[in-house]
């Protein structure tokens, strides 16, 4: 008895404490980044100034006045939104076909799509740069939209496929009997029933696009450069300007954190529950 009681008492205290510690460890870099963004570059590198410093908005002012924050932000919005829309336009019919008219090859195709994610991006970096430059696509919105879409397509198709598979085939067939053509099935049945799943997939895809850094940094210079590029650009060339770097980073991740916060419920629901249940 006593042991059991002690045990439960222990877990009642220990688990929350552990959870908080882990959460704080994970949260610390973000906290540190936000805090540093309000320090001058000089203050930022002094460890004793972790909390005692005079807050300043100088970094943010600097960023919008001298570093063209809004252009990068606009590029991020354009590329992430377009890529998400394009990805869904391709992925919805694709997942629909695989979920409701599977062939013997469907499973293999799904595996193959996932396997493309196993290719190290670095392996094709130089061919990509040469080819896109030769084609005149380097540093264009079009290129970034295509690259972001192609990177995310496999995972988006997979996610949509699992949501669509939850919709009973009979309901689609009842729709056919009631006079629906293929587009009608998608519009009248598939999208309404899988709405939660489609929305959370779109949100996740948007977040991935927004945060993508490897390609957006390497395939752009100015015209199509996104916020990832802005962060990157503020890192190396002029030395360690931690204050400014932090401000840029905060402003880059800010929108997505806020979006994620508002859509949290939707995301969790979409990722954990079936579409129709």
């Amino acid at each position: 008895m006593a042991i059991v009681a002690q045990h439960t008492k222990f877990s009642k205290i220990a688990w929350p404490v552990l959870a908080w510690v882990v959460a704080l460890i994970f949260f610390f870099p973000i906290f540190y980044m936000v805090l540093t963004s309000f320090k001058t570059d000089a203050d930022a590198v002094k460890p004793e100034f972790l909390f005692s410093f005079t807050p300043t908005l100088e970094n943010y002012a600097n960023m919008t006045e001298n570093y063209d924050y809004w252009r990068f932000a606009r590029n991020s919005v354009i590329t992430a939104v377009s890529a998400t829309i394009f990805t869904l336009v391709v992925a919805v019919p694709c997942a629909y076909a695989m979920a409701f008219n599977p062939t013997r090859a469907t499973k293999d195709i799904l595996m193959w799509m996932l396997s493309t994610k196993m290719l190290p991006a670095a392996a094709v970096l130089y061919p990509m740069i040469f080819m896109t430059k030769a084609a005149g696509l380097y540093d264009t919105h079009f290129l970034i939209i295509m690259v972001l879409s192609l990177i995310n397509l496999p995972i988006v198709i997979w996610m949509l496929f699992t949501y669509f598979k939850d919709i009973p085939k009979d309901i689609i067939e009842a729709g056919k009997m009631d006079g629906l053509n293929t587009w009608g099935e998608v519009r009248e049945i598939l999208i309404p029933l899988a709405w939660g799943g489609i929305a959370s997939t779109a949100l996740l895809c948007f977040i991935f696009c927004w945060n993508e850094a490897y390609w957006t940094v390497r395939l752009t210079t100015t015209d199509a450069a996104t916020l990832s590029k802005l962060i990157e650009g503020n890192r190396a060339p002029e030395g360690l300007f931690f204050g400014r770097l932090s401000a840029v980073s905060t402003a880059a991740v800010g929108p997505i954190v806020v979006l994620g916060w508002f859509c949290q419920k939707q995301l969790v629901q979409g990722l954990t529950f079936g579409a129709v249940k």
């Binding site: 309901i171 067939e173 009842a174 009997m177 009631d178 006079g179 629906l180 009608g184 009248e188 129709v276």
Partner: protein
């Protein structure tokens, strides 16, 4: 109109042949039941008529038009699924209106038809509910409502009552039969339950492994089963089928006698056996008889109650006119 003709229709899934070439004619206004054991291809055949399944070979004709290449939406048939297959995101009203909306029928007519269907199916109070808030029986009624309003050339039912409990099943069976009396529209009804087939059908199509074993009225099938399979499948309890001396004596390889076509006595009779389990239904008694030397276990049906205990000696006398004879291939001998 709803005359449906299947001409040499064949279906294979990859290598496996589910429906060998098969021919069937269904007249306008008929209530046809496809019956057979699970996995014999009843649903596949129905879905081929609906257009939900492609044909490997052959043609489907509706009212003289070949519809083999016509998509399901254009065949003018309505289907009721075992799972009901209602649209879960729409209210009952919207579910019933759906095929009419797809057909571009005006709102006034839609309203009138929904009202009429809801009244005849007892759904008036539920029109604004979603399918998730209805019982199984109500859902099935909505599915039927959705099928009636579009005035199809024929109704296709795929085991529509299998998900309902026994009491509801009997009630819904009657409702569907009433509906057929009222509409006089062709109905094709798939079931594995021979009682449903016997009670509902004008014409029964008995299937086994995709092959039509017999087509006929319920009583044709009962009185003159074309082969051993039909003899054993139609009728409840099952016909007693056995080989041996008694069969040879009657110039047959196998003979069959239905449980209701034997008289039972405790003192005398043609065959002797021992009572096993006795099922007392009040109206009837089913006795399972062992040690007859004819077959493992023979079933006999006695009208009213019959006092018999496990282990009692018992004598059976078949009605000779009711003995069915089959040859070595299992085909009926007239």
């Amino acid at each position: 109109m709803g005359r449906i003709v299947l001409k040499d229709v064949k279906k294979s899934f990859g290598e496996t042949n589910v429906i060998p070439p098969l021919n069937l004619e269904i007249d306008d206004g008929e209530f046809v039941v496809f019956v057979g054991p699970s996995g014999c291809g009843k649903s596949t055949l129905l879905r081929m008529i609906a257009g939900l399944e492609d044909l490997t070979a052959g043609d489907v004709e509706i009212d003289g038009n070949v519809v083999t290449e016509v998509p399901p939406s254009k065949r003018g048939l309505a289907m009721v699924f075992q799972s009901y297959a209602l649209y879960p995101h729409m209210t009952v009203r919207k579910n019933i209106a759906f095929p009419m909306r797809m057909a571009g029928i005006d709102e006034e007519t839609q309203k009138a038809k929904i009202e009429a269907a809801a009244t005849s199916l007892n759904l008036t109070d539920y029109l604004d509910r979603k399918p998730g808030q209805l019982s199984g029986g109500q859902r099935q009624r909505v599915a039927i409502g959705r099928a009636i309003v579009r005035e199809p050339a024929a109704f296709l039912f795929d085991e529509p009552l299998s998900n309902l409990d026994a009491a509801l099943r009997v009630g819904m069976r009657l409702e569907i039969m009433e509906l057929h009396e009222k509409l006089k529209t062709t109905m094709i009804y798939v079931t594995h339950d021979q009682v449903e087939a016997m009670t509902m059908a004008d014409k029964i199509v008995v299937l086994q492994a995709g092959v039509i074993e017999q087509v006929g009225s319920p009583l044709d099938l009962y009185h003159a089963p074309r082969n051993k399979f039909v003899a054993g499948f139609i009728g409840s309890p099952k016909m007693n089928l056995f080989e041996g001396e008694e069969a040879t004596k009657r110039n047959a390889h196998t003979i069959g006698i239905r449980p209701e076509h034997m008289t039972v006595s405790k003192t005398e009779g043609l065959w002797e056996g021992t009572v096993g389990v006795a099922e007392h239904l009040g109206s009837d008694t089913f006795l399972h008889i062992h040690e007859t030397g004819l077959m493992d276990m023979m079933t006999v049906r006695v009208n009213g109650d019959f006092a018999a205990r496990h282990g009692d000696k018992i004598f059976l006398t078949p009605d000779e006119n009711q003995i069915h004879r089959f040859d070595a291939e299992g085909m009926r001998i007239e």
